[in-house]
């Protein structure tokens, strides 16, 4: 029986009258109803059949001892080599945000501009300029060929290796921390983990005690199973994002695929042409073994290691000091017809029939 690697919960929630599905729907009040969760430890049972894509499995817990900067260098090197061996350019999705700017920096500090101009195309929207105008003016506009991000659904044609900035959020923590800091203050975020404190925050968004407890239980159980100790409140939000959202993030770009390119969506194509920059075991291990990066009292300090690396390169103090993470993918995903899911044979599922994918053995009965 097939299961799903990726699903849009709204596609299920809007079309199912089942009581457990409607209970489960409340869960998505926490992070938005279009983001499917998948527990990478496979403990949490939702009313939809799902499985873990092998590339999204959690890595073995052995510290790589790489610094964050070294991880970036190594990844840039890997992708440069991949471009060389395949003879295909790297299409870097640049929004002007911290994650994608650091990707550009990782290449720019390692290779000559002349080399990179032959190797890199920048997938960009008109909005990208406004997010990082200095970097745009000094590095992007004068040096690189543009590919309009409006073309994203047709970029899965194999003509380039798509490089995204996905997963840096999962490495550093979660957007949920921003709201937590706004509501409770940064000191509270860095205080010892207390289930009751987290519950109050979570339940304010989910608004159902039973469902909130189900989720917190799931996050705690997954942590124990994998061997994570949630020492601080920030660890809870990080672990939730790291463990439960990873696979959804891995696949969400495919939701955009143009129908005529569906046949390209397969593991072999994916292993070459879809490269999420921060999706490697060594980045994940860096994140696991550096909980101190999640101890922040001010949202401006979120992703500080990344901001430091960018600053060392471009010396843009204003960006370093004041840049805060903001969502950018909505410009790519907005007002489009998206796939509802991708199944475990990597086959696109344009429209999910909830009954076809229903999992009766779930935590919401």
């Amino acid at each position: 029986m097939k299961s799903l690697y990726y699903f849009n919960p709204l596609a299920i929630v809007n079309k199912s009258l089942r009581k457990d599905v409607q209970e489960w729907a409340k869960l998505y009040g926490l992070i938005g109803h279009a983001v499917g969760m998948t527990d990478r430890t496979e403990q949490f049972k939702q009313p939809v059949r799902q499985s873990i894509f092998p590339d999204c499995a959690l890595p073995a817990l052995v510290d790589s001892n790489l610094t964050y900067s070294e991880c970036c260098d190594r990844r840039a090197e890997e992708l440069y080599k991949l471009s060389e061996t395949t003879g295909k350019p790297l299409g870097i999705m640049w929004s002007g945000g911290i994650d994608s700017t650091l990707i550009m920096v990782s290449f720019l500090r390692k290779y000559s501009l002349a080399d990179l101009q032959q190797r890199i195309k920048v997938i960009i929207s008109a909005e990208s300029r406004t997010e990082n105008p200095e970097f745009y003016k000094n590095y992007i506009l004068p040096n690189f060929e543009f590919v309009n991000s409006e073309h994203t659904p047709w970029l899965f044609d194999g003509s380039m290796i798509i490089v995204t900035g996905e997963f840096n959020d999962q490495l550093f923590g979660s957007d949920l921390m921003k709201v937590y800091i706004a509501n409770n203050g940064g000191v509270s975020l860095s205080s010892p983990y207390k289930r009751d404190t987290v519950f109050v925050y979570i339940n304010r968004k989910i608004n159902d005690e039973k469902v909130s407890n189900t989720l917190i239980n799931a996050v705690e159980v997954a942590a124990v199973k994998y061997g994570i100790v949630m020492e601080k409140i920030s660890d809870f939000f990080w672990w939730y994002n790291f463990c439960f959202k990873w696979q959804g993030v891995y696949f969400r770009m495919y939701a955009l695929t143009a129908p005529k390119l569906f046949s390209n969506v397969n593991p072999e194509w994916n292993s070459i042409h879809m490269q999420h920059f921060y999706h490697t075991d060594y980045f994940q291990l860096w994140s696991i073994y550096h909980p101190e990066v999640r101890i922040i009292t001010d949202w401006k300090n979120y992703k500080m290691e990344a901001k430091i690396d960018i600053f060392k390169f471009d010396k843009n103090y204003e960006y370093f000091k004041n840049k805060i993470k903001r969502a950018s993918l909505y410009t790519v995903f907005g007002q489009r017809t998206l796939l509802d899911g991708v199944d475990d044979t990597f086959t696109p599922v344009p429209i999910i029939n909830p009954e076809e994918w229903y999992n009766p053995v779930n935590d919401f009965k």
Partner: protein
């Protein structure tokens, strides 16, 4: 601009089903109802313009006396057929959804509404098409644009092209989405269908991008 009210009336006897202040909603409604036409009312073409309220056409039934200066004549209940009432009920249900639909579309288009002079994009796109960066050939208008914005012309070309293509492609697909949901709303005949349509429309306009 003259303040205007759009009345959706029966083609058969000019009895008024409903009033909307939006010509876009008016057109969307008549595109789904073969018996309907749009009647445009202003203070200059109707002596009764000042009497028009949103509810007046749901409380009573009026026909339009065109020879009498576009005034309203109340129709006795016995002259109003049940099928007419059913059509009005359906159109009112759809009108509510079209209010959402129009708001969603406007909100989606807001990011691309940048100039006082809406034709700018088309004129600029012409300049882009007539230029050729490979041979370093740019139109004189583009060269002047680059001088004013203080940028080398090849960069101005690149940046303007990106912005224009982004905006036009975004507007194009927003319009496609609007067309799709206009047709779906025009298939609604019962109040019970409203919530399903509203929810799916909200999903496709907004929620899918809340990732």
């Amino acid at each position: 601009m003259i303040e205007t009210r759009y009345l959706i009336a029966s083609l058969e006897n000019t009895s008024v089903y409903l009033m909307t202040p939006s010509v876009i909603t008016a057109n969307a409604l008549v595109s789904g109802s073969g018996d309907s036409i749009i009647k445009v009312f202003t203070a200059y073409n109707s002596a009764d313009y000042g009497k028009i309220t949103r509810n007046m056409f749901t409380e009573k039934v009026y026909s339009i006396d065109q020879k009498g200066g576009n005034t309203f004549v109340e129709m006795p209940d016995e002259h109003v057929s049940s099928s007419w009432k059913e059509t009005r009920s359906i159109l009112l249900t759809r009108q509510h959804l079209f209010g959402r639909w129009e708001s969603f579309t406007k909100q989606a288009l807001a990011r691309q509404t940048r100039h006082q002079w809406a034709e700018f994009d088309f004129v600029a796109m012409e300049q882009i098409k007539e230029s050729d960066p490979a041979s370093n050939t740019y139109t004189w208008m583009l060269e002047e644009y680059a001088r004013i914005v203080d940028m080398p012309v090849d960069r101005a070309y690149k940046e303007l092209k990106l912005r224009l293509e982004s905006d036009l492609m975004t507007k194009f697909r927003i319009q496609a989405l609007a067309e799709k949901w206009k047709d779906k709303i025009n298939q609604v005949t019962m109040q019970q269908q409203v919530e399903d349509v509203r929810r799916e429309m909200a999903r496709e306009f907004w929620q899918n991008s809340s990732i």
